[in-house]
Amino acid sequence: MPQVYLVGGKGGVGKTSVSLALAHMFAAHGERTLWMEVAELPRLGHFFPGARNRFEPAEVAPNLFALNHVHAEALEEYLEIVFRVRWLTRRISENSVFGAVTQALPGIESLVLLGKILYEAERTRRGALYWNKIILDSPATGHGKQLLQFPKAAREIVQFGPVAETARKIDKWVRDPGRWSNLLVTLPEALPVQESLEMQTWMADALGYPVSAVLLNQVIDVTEGGPNVPAAGQTRVEWIRQWQTIQRQYGQRLSEESAAPILNIPVLGPHVDERQRLELISRFLSDTLLNGRKA
């Protein structure tokens, strides 16, 4: 199974909760797992109250580690690796010329993020890989497309030096379905489904292998034949039925046109808090993905 999972999708579909639930799932199965978010306003604290948003991996649950990737800090870390001399890298990174120039370099943020993932993926301890699983909650804009485009774009501009080397290495990694998996989160609505289908096509073309799965979030699934709903609830019943119709329509479109298998993730009500929801979805993913049962 792959080591690295990129969880992409348009803004607002639930990438953060789903990617974190996936990470939680692996951790619960005994895999040492690193979950990464890239956020100016980190969301980790919503799920693990009290957890601090740190640049270094911090354990938030057994086997589950989280970090918030901050470009400036990661760049400094990258420099240390390239230059190997601490005081020099500090002087360099604090220099405004350097800061300004690197800010303008095309794809620099993607480079640094991908470089960071690679670095973590290759870490070993006592001869074995340190992380069994690495899950990236893709930055909100771009679905991860910008990220995956980077290695090719970089090769067109940069021929030599550490960046070029890193770009080549990253390129090999992302193209290897044995090491890397791409997942998309979407909603059973017009625009999200449209975009996830487009994204699948793009990814298959760009990387040479298909998206592993589409996670269809917020699905309303009604068990028929339950107790009668009193008259006071009929307006809501009608509302729910209409949503079901819409969801069915776009869910159908997705299943007809999607090359990747689809997993329906149910709506969970307001009676569960974020942490409980995380654990429930983690359990759901475990039942459906790891025990061989399909939703």
Binding site: V101, G161, G225, G233, L268, H271
Partner: protein, 372 residues
């Protein structure tokens, strides 16, 4: 007439801000339709809308120049007293247009536009997209062709990025960094300036070269060398744009989703904007589950024995009525912070909003009788 309608009647520019995925584009389109219905010559400027939205506004594809869409409203049964126009912002074209307006020498202008990495640098420079939006807005305002312009902002992660971005960009060029890089002083002279700076900047440029490969640094430096004089007006332009933001004629409208975190962010942005001396007129909470008439009948939803297994219809009804109460509490939070007259909700209705009918429905939620 409510607060939103008042804004549309009295302002010249309405900027619709919010995170990606909250429904900004549909709300912007709806506001524009309201302006047109109310008698104003209104232009909606959107950023990269889905093709379906373009279709619902009557365009097979969005053009980069304003197009008259009023006939689409009348064909749809509405009675606009004014006009509706629409266009899609093309960042590249806008930035090219900006270069063209600022670089007077045609040869230099061509060199800039054809520079191998011009597109990449403008694409990657943080703030470019936002800058393009503000530049276009300024241009449109100057032309004076429209009574009201509704700007749909780019889907940045957080609304505050939109305000900070152009400043970042102008500071970058005005900071003297460009001069440092190219080894000349502000007036473009080499010589003493270069010699003084040489020693300092070489170490750092060397570091960047080692990091990225000499070729790229040379390309970027060549680009900056080319534009350093041409971009001097950038900081002046930045000030003009800032004036536009702070003008009493400009109003921010913030769109967010109904969840606690989103509502908090919207309120935070509202406060930040106001503190900056910029007018924020409304917070529109989108996709709110509104309580139905029978809400009180469905007391606390306890949840079924196993929340993962599909619920019965009764469970779902109870759950959504509970969710409606939660959303109502979030709405109240917004009202308490920004004021009841400035808080608006759009129902999470089970309908396709990317049609004139859908936009009309949003309009009815926000403006009531105007859309009937």
């Amino acid at each position: 007439m409510n607060g939103l309608q008042q804004i549309l009647r009295s302002r010249g520019v309405v900027i619709v801000a919010g995170s990606g995925g909250v429904g900004k584009t549909t709300v912007s389109a709806s506001l524009a339709i309201a302006g047109a219905l109310d008698g104003r010559k209104t232009l909606v400027v959107t950023i990269d809308p889905a093709k379906r939205l373009a279709q619902s506004l009557g365009l097979p594809a969005m053009g980069h120049e304003p197009e008259n869409l009023t006939s689409n409203l009348t064909a749809g049964g509405l009675k606009p007293k004014g006009e509706l126009w629409g266009m899609m912002l093309d960042m590249k074209a806008t930035l090219d247009g900006f270069v063209e307006s600022v670089v007077r020498d045609p040869r230099t202008r061509d060199l800039v536009l054809q520079n191998k990495i011009y597109e990449q640098v403008t694409g990657s420079l943080s703030g470019s997209q936002e800058y393009a939006a503000m530049h276009k807005l300024h241009e449109l305002r100057e032309n004076g062709l429209f009574d009201l312009i509704i700007l749909d902002t780019p889907p940045t992660t957080h609304a505050i990025d939109f305000l900070r971005a152009p400043d970042k960009l102008t500071r970058f060029f005005a900071s003297g960094v460009v001069q440092l890089l190219t080894g000349s002083d502000r007036k473009g002279r080499g010589g003493l300036g270069r010699r003084l700076l040489q020693r300092g900047s070489d170490l750092f440029l060397g570091a960047v070269e080692k990091l990225t490969g000499a070729e790229l640094v040379r390309e970027v430096t060549a680009f900056f060398d080319l534009v350093q004089n041409a971009f001097e007006p950038l900081s002046d332009h930045g000030r003009t744009v800032e004036q536009l933001l702070r003008s009493p004629d400009t109003e921010f409208v913030i769109v967010c989703g109904p969840q606690g975190g989103q509502v908090d962010e919207a309120v935070q942005f509202f406060r930040q904007v106001t503190q900056m001396g910029i007018s924020a007129g409304a917070v529109i909470v989108n996709r709110v589950v509104l309580p139905t008439v029978g809400n009180k009948e469905f007391k606390q939803f306890q949840g079924s024995a196993d929340p993962l297994h599909p619920h019965t219809m009764l469970d779902w009804v109870s759950m959504y009525e509970e969710l409606a109460r939660v959303h109502a509490a979030h709405l109240k939070r917004v009202e308490q912070d920004v004021g009841k007259g400035r808080t608006f909700a759009v129902d999470a209705a089970p309908r396709d909003l990317h049609s004139l009918d859908g936009l009309r429905w949003i309009g009815e939620q926000l403006f009531g009788t105007l859309f009937k």
